[in-house]
Symmetry: C2
Subunit: 332 residues, 2 copies
C-alpha cells in the first residue's frame, strides 16, 4: 500500500484499520461519525467528540480574538453532539499555549468558552495545560441521548429529502473580510464577521430532529456543504442531487465581490455548523411545518438522495466536487 497524497477520509480509513482490534463491548459507535457513542448503562447512551482549533490553521490573531477562539472551539464540539441528537453535558479542554499568548488572553479565551458553555448548558469540567508552538484548543465534549434517538450519518436512503437548518457561506465571507481579501458594506461585513467569530450550534434543533423517526441521517456542516454532504452520502451508500443551495446574504455579497457564483461560494464554505439532515420524502412537508412552529424558522430543502453515488447539480448530471476544507497528506 502506498500513501501518496492521501485525502483526509482515506487517512481516517487507514487509521481505523489499525485501531480496529481495540474493543470495548459498550462502545456502540466508533470512528467515522460526528461522535462516538457508548453505553454507560443499559438504558443510557453517552456521546463523545473531540475537535481541535489550531492557530495558523483554523484562525490567526488577525482574524479572531482569544474570546472568539474559545467560543468557536466550544461551538464546534457542541455541534458534533447536536448532529448525534445529543444533549450536551460537559467539555474538557487540552490547551496548548503558544509563546505569544499571555495570561490576560488565556483568561479571555476561557471567558469565550464559559459563555458558550452557559449558552448550551454544559459544564467545563477539566483538562490539561501545556506549552505549545502555537495556541491549540483541543476540546472534548460529552453529551447524552436516548438510545432510540441516536442519529448517524449512515442512515440516509435513496429518495430522502436533504434539508438544512440554515444558510451557508456566511462564515467563509467573514473570514474573507477578516483577512482583508474582500470589502463589504458595513452591515453585511458585520453579519459576515459575526457568523465567522460567533457561530451557533443547532443543539435544540438537533435533539428535536433526532427524536423524529422520519429523520434518517444527520451531520453537522463544519468543513463545507459539498464536503459534509458528500460524507453523509458516502456513509449512507447513496449519492445526492443538489437542487437548491441556501446561500446566506453575506455570502451572496462576498461571492459577487470576488466574481464567483454564489452557490459555489456557499458549497465551499465551512464552519457554519448548520445541520444537514436526510428526511423521509413523504414526511418532509409535515416535519417542516412542525419545525416552523417550533423554531420560527425554515427547514431548507436542498435536494434529494439517490442511488447513484456522487454529488450532482440540479440537472442530475453536472458533478459537484468536494470543495470544502480537507486535510491532505504527503507520502511516507
Amino acid at each position: 500500500m502506498t500513501h501518496a497524497g492521501l485525502r483526509e477520509d482515506e487517512l481516517v480509513t487507514a487509521l481505523r484499520g489499525i485501531v480496529e482490534g481495540t474493543r470495548e463491548t459498550r462502545v456502540v459507535v466508533g470512528i467515522g461519525d460526528d461522535a462516538a457513542v457508548w453505553q454507560p448503562s443499559r438504558s443510557h447512551r453517552s456521546v463523545v467528540t473531540s475537535d481541535a482549533l489550531v492557530e495558523g490553521v483554523h484562525f490567526t490573531r488577525q482574524t479572531m480574538s482569544a474570546y472568539d477562539v474559545g467560543w468557536r472551539s466550544t461551538v464546534a464540539n457542541v455541534s458534533d453532539l447536536a448532529a448525534m441528537g445529543a444533549r450536551p453535558v460537559l467539555v474538557t479542554i487540552a490547551l496548548g499555549i503558544g509563546a505569544q499568548w499571555n495570561v490576560t488572553e488565556l483568561l479571555d479565551l476561557y471567558r469565550g468558552i464559559a459563555d458558550a458553555a452557559k449558552t448550551y448548558g454544559l459544564a467545563v469540567a477539566g483538562g490539561d495545560l501545556t506549552r505549545a508552538p502555537a495556541l491549540i484548543v483541543a476540546m472534548t465534549a460529552i453529551g447524552e441521548v436516548r438510545p432510540s434517538h441516536v442519529t448517524l450519518r449512515s442512515g440516509g436512503r435513496s429518495g430522502d429529502v436533504i434539508a438544512s437548518t440554515g444558510d451557508f457561506g456566511a462564515s467563509r465571507a467573514g473570514l474573507d473580510v477578516a483577512r482583508g481579501a474582500i470589502a463589504l458594506d458595513p452591515p453585511m461585513a458585520e453579519a459576515a464577521t459575526c457568523a465567522h467569530r460567533r457561530p451557533r450550534a443547532r443543539v435544540a434543533q438537533g435533539q428535536w430532529l433526532a427524536a423524529s423517526a422520519h429523520v434518517h441521517a444527520m451531520i453537522d456542516c463544519s468543513d463545507g456543504l459539498s464536503t459534509d454532504l458528500a460524507r453523509l452520502c458516502e456513509s449512507s451508500g447513496v449519492g445526492a442531487v443538489v437542487e437548491h443551495v441556501p446561500v446566506a446574504p453575506a455570502a451572496c455579497a462576498a461571492a459577487a465581490a470576488i466574481g464567483e457564483p454564489a452557490h459555489a461560494y456557499a458549497l465551499a464554505g465551512g464552519e457554519e455548523y448548520e445541520l444537514i439532515v436526510a428526511i423521509d420524502a413523504h414526511a418532509f412537508a409535515y416535519l417542516a411545518g412542525r419545525y416552523r412552529t417550533r423554531f420560527g424558522d425554515e427547514l431548507r430543502a436542498i435536494g434529494t438522495l439517490r442511488r447513484e453515488p456522487g454529488l450532482v447539480a440540479g440537472d442530475g448530471e453536472t458533478p459537484l466536487g468536494r470543495t470544502g476544507w480537507e486535510l491532505r497528506l504527503g507520502a511516507g
Copy 2:
C-alpha cells in the same frame, strides 16, 4: 489582580474561577482532580480526562519514535483514569499533524495507540485530524467507576501513610540518555530508555486500591513525585514528611552520573505514572500484605501526611521544593 509569573496551579485556579458559572447537575467532580466525574445514570459514574503530548515540549523526534508517542499518550491518559479508580472504556484523539510528519509515521503512531489500548482494554473511538505547527496528540480517555469507589486527591488525612506503586526517576534517566546528556551501562541505559518510551499505567492497581475504604486519596505521578505529592497535599489541606524516596535503579545510576543526590533526582522526575496514595495508618501493613499477594509487588511507604502544610524531608524540618514539571506563564 496582576498575572506576573503565574504558576500552573495558580493559572488553573484563575481559569476555574471563570468557568465556575458553567454547571450541569450531573457533573459531580469538575476541574482540579486527575479527571472529571459525572453521573450518566443514578447508579453509574463516568470519568473523563484529557492530556496532550506536544512535540518539542514533551518529546522530540530524537527522544521518541512515533510509535512511542502513541503509546505514551495513551498511557498518560489511562493513568489519570487509574488515579480515580476507574476502568478504561474508550479514548478519542485530536491529532495535530506537523509538516514534518508523513503518513507512514502517523500509522506507526496509531499502532502505538492501538497496542496501548489493547493492553488496557479500551476502544479507540474517534477524534479529529488537523494540520498543526508540530505533532500534537491531544487525547481524551473515558472510564467508569462505582460511585463508592471514586477516589479523589482531596481525601488525605493527617497521619495517613503515603505510599506508591513503584519507584521514581527512571523515566527522567531515560530522557537524559536519549538526549545524550548522560551515558549509562547498556542494561541500565536500556531500562531507563524503556521506562521513558514505554511507561505503564497502574490500572489494575488503581481499581484495587480505590475499592478499599482505607485508601483516602490517590493521584498519579506524571509531573514528578515532589510536584504531584504537593498537589495531593494541597487538595487535602495537609502537608507531608517524606521519609523514604523509592528510587529506580536506573535513576540511581543517572543521578551518580551527573553528581546529584539520588533522592533529589527521583523527586524531580516525572512521567513515571506510578500512583501515589494516602492510606489509613492503621490499615497500611494489612493492605500492603494483601497488595503483595495480589500483585506480587510492594506498596512502597514514602512518608506520612501531617497537619502542617508543605513537604519536608525525614528530619521533619528541611523543606522539599516542587522540582517537577510545571508550566509558568508571563504577565499579560
